[in-house]
């Protein structure tokens, strides 16, 4: 296909409210900053100690150079903690008007009014609003921000926090462990099926604000939950950093789905560590949609530690001008008869670069394991780029492992067929792109699927046809 001229449309959510913060730390990262964050939150001593150890680890670790270009991040220029409002709110009416307005524009109230079980919205670093319907509260489901959980359920938090993603795991996990604030805590007791998705929104608002949320999801035996996270951030000129850590624990027979729609503005570095542990018979599903940011490095991982555990990763990446989406998945098969399926779809246009970086591991214990990875990439024009870097490390003869990847342009035959039905070239190309992404988009909750289709159309306007 010929290279089409591309003018990026104004970023849809690119508004910024005047900064309104009650507490913020000095830019830069020192031990004082970490102590200040911990002090402001009135945390238990073990958490402060953990933060300080993590800070030391972070200072010792180099910034990884094996993936996307991260050399432009200046860690001394980032504000590590911002507090927009004093405490987490229960009712929507109590949320300050200014903050409410921001959420109004990204659609949280509608979602709340309609059918969501609970909603925690993260405004910069701390949750300002949290709600969970009575029905689930009575059955023992906990959904709150992690700071609240640390106060009210500190034993649970201490038992799980940092056990799956320790601070020393990687540079950005160490950074997050040192300065984390906000993020969600979900606990689903044994046998409880939460039939409605739990939802949280994240935004970065202040210029140069880092956002280091920490999410902990614990799902007990036979329980079931769907957690949904959507991100959007106002556009800014200085680079912002988002380094989150997500830990998901699925007990035997549990089922967890974690859906992300990420739409950071195009100056954000999105460097996230997401990991789940699935015990016997448990199923963990990551549905991961990456649209925004300048650099995304995110590889949702599942450790299949119990017999018959199953992992499913659906990944979608859209890389436009100046963007590098380096996404993928890591699956560790560590028990017999574990299975995994990874489906990755990426679209590069206008000089964007999308990479799939994946890992499938099978060890001596994973007898009878099965894994299938499929990566499809669509290159819209001649200046964009697509990479695939899958690593397959199998030490288990009784295994079936398949990987396949293909890279293509939009097929002329499909375009001419659609045009013969009366569509313009742009409409036809847009339809082909939607069809290509359909297997992932159809897995999203409805309002996300609609928003997603709109976002894709908006981002790709003028770049096809």
């Amino acid at each position: 296909m010929a290279t089409a001229s591309y003018t990026p449309p104004p970023y849809q959510y690119g508004f910024a409210d005047p900064e309104l913060y009650q507490a913020r730390t000095q830019p830069g990262l020192t031990e004082e900053v970490v102590r200040e964050i911990s002090g402001l939150k009135d945390e238990p001593v073990w958490m402060l100690e953990q933060r300080l150890r993590a800070l030391k680890t972070f200072q010792e670790k180099p910034v990884p150079s094996w993936g996307a270009d991260l050399s432009a991040i200046n860690f001394d220029d980032i504000t590590y903690f911002l507090r927009a409002h004093d405490s987490a709110e229960r009712s929507w009416d109590e949320v300050p008007e200014k903050i409410k307005e921001t959420f109004e524009r990204i659609g949280v109230p509608q979602a709340e009014r309609e059918y969501l079980a609970g909603s925690g919205a993260q405004y910069d670093s701390e949750s300002v609003y949290h709600n969970l319907s009575e029905e689930w509260k009575v059955r023992g489901v906990i959904f709150c921000d992690l700071d609240t959980a640390l106060r009210e359920h500190s034993e649970l938090v201490q038992r799980y926090f940092g056990t799956l993603v320790p601070a020393a795991d990687n540079t950005f996990a160490a950074l997050n462990s040192a300065v984390w604030s906000g993020g969600s805590f979900v606990y689903v007791p044994e046998g409880v099926h939460v039939t409605m998705p739990l939802q949280a929104y994240f935004r970065i608002n202040a210029q140069k604000a880092g956002q280091f949320e920490r999410t902990l999801i614990i799902v007990e035996s036979g329980a079931n939950v769907h957690y949904v996270e959507g991100c959007s951030a106002p556009s800014y000129s200085a680079g912002s950093l988002h380094a989150a850590v997500v830990e998901v624990f699925a007990a035997p027979g549990a089922r967890v789905r974690y859906t992300t729609v990420q739409n950071w503005s195009d100056n954000v570095y999105n460097l996230v560590t997401k990991r789940a542990r699935a015990q016997a018979g448990a199923t963990v599903e990551w549905v991961d949609c990456n649209l925004g940011s300048c650099v995304t490095m995110k590889y949702p991982a599942v450790q299949l530690v119990g017999e018959g555990a199953h992992a499913e990763v659906l990944s979608l990446a859209l890389a436009g001008p100046g963007q590098h989406q380096d996404a993928g998945s890591k699956i560790h098969h560590l028990a017999p008869n574990t299975t995994s399926t990874v489906t990755s779809k990426s679209v590069s246009f206008g000089g964007g670069r999308s990479s799939y970086r994946g890992l499938v591991v099978g060890n001596r214990a994973s007898k009878g394991m099965r894994s299938r990875v499929v990566c499809d990439a669509l290159l819209i024009d001649g200046v964009s780029r697509s990479d695939t870097y899958p690593t397959i490390d199998i030490a288990q003869p009784d295994s079936t492992v398949e990987h396949e990847a293909s890279v293509s342009a939009i097929a002329e035959a499909q375009l001419s067929y659609l045009r013969s039905r009366g569509l313009t070239e742009a409409e036809a190309a847009s339809l082909v792109v939607h069809g290509f992404l359909e297997p992932v988009v159809k897995q999203l909750p409805m309002e996300f699927a609609i928003e997603m289709n709109r976002l894709i159309e908006l981002q790709m306007e003028g770049s096809v046809g």
């Binding site: 990439a377 870097y389 397959i392 199998i394 003869p397 079936t400 990987h403 990847a405």
Partner: protein, 179 residues
């Protein structure tokens, strides 16, 4: 042999295995890499209208860990390449196969395929497979695939029902894996 995805003529000019191979004449070529091949091999296709097939047969016996890092660099338009790689692992063998297909921004009209199949024999066998793609323009056809499996009883049952011993049946399957 796995079915070729390129329309190959009957005669293919053999290339000599080396660490760096530059193909600078249009034509049809075949490169065969076996256990004696250098561990790092980069093939550059620098002029248009090259058709290249690369066959790599890697065998790792107990205690062996051979490595092959093969790069096919499409620098010119209309170059076509196909890599058919196999790894057979016995005992405690642990081979590494890395295969990178790279298509430059200016190299339009290229086709490039890579396939890596591994047969693990023996319960201590292990394989590292890294089939990678770096595609910088969209007028290409490019794909790769990798599989890992072992010989299962059901695979042997048919051959053994024809009167072969278990060992003979296994050898038949190994022969056909490389054929």
């Amino acid at each position: 042999m796995a079915a070729s995805r390129l329309a190959l003529p009957t005669h293919l000019t053999p290339l000599t295995p080396a660490g760096e191979i530059t193909v600078g004449e249009p034509g049809t070529y075949r490169l065969v890499l076996d256990t004696t091949a250098p561990p790092i091999c980069t093939v550059r296709l620098t002029v248009p209208d090259i058709l290249l097939q690369i066959i790599s047969n890697q065998t790792a016996g107990s205690g062996e860990a051979p490595t092959l890092f093969l790069t096919v660099d499409h620098q010119a338009p209309r170059t076509k390449a196909e890599v058919l790689a196999k790894s057979l692992v016995r005992g405690t063998g642990s081979p590494t196969f890395k295969g990178l297909l790279r298509i430059a921004e200016s190299a339009t009209g290229c086709e490039s395929y890579l396939r890596h199949d591994t047969l693990l024999l023996g319960d201590q066998a292990r394989v590292h497979s890294w089939p990678a793609l770096e595609i910088l323009n969209n007028e290409v056809k490019c794909s790769h695939s990798a599989t890992v499996r072992t010989i299962r009883d059901e695979d042997l049952a048919y051959i053994r029902s024809r009167g072969l011993t278990r060992k003979q049946a296994e050898e038949q399957i190994i022969t056909s894996f490389f054929a």
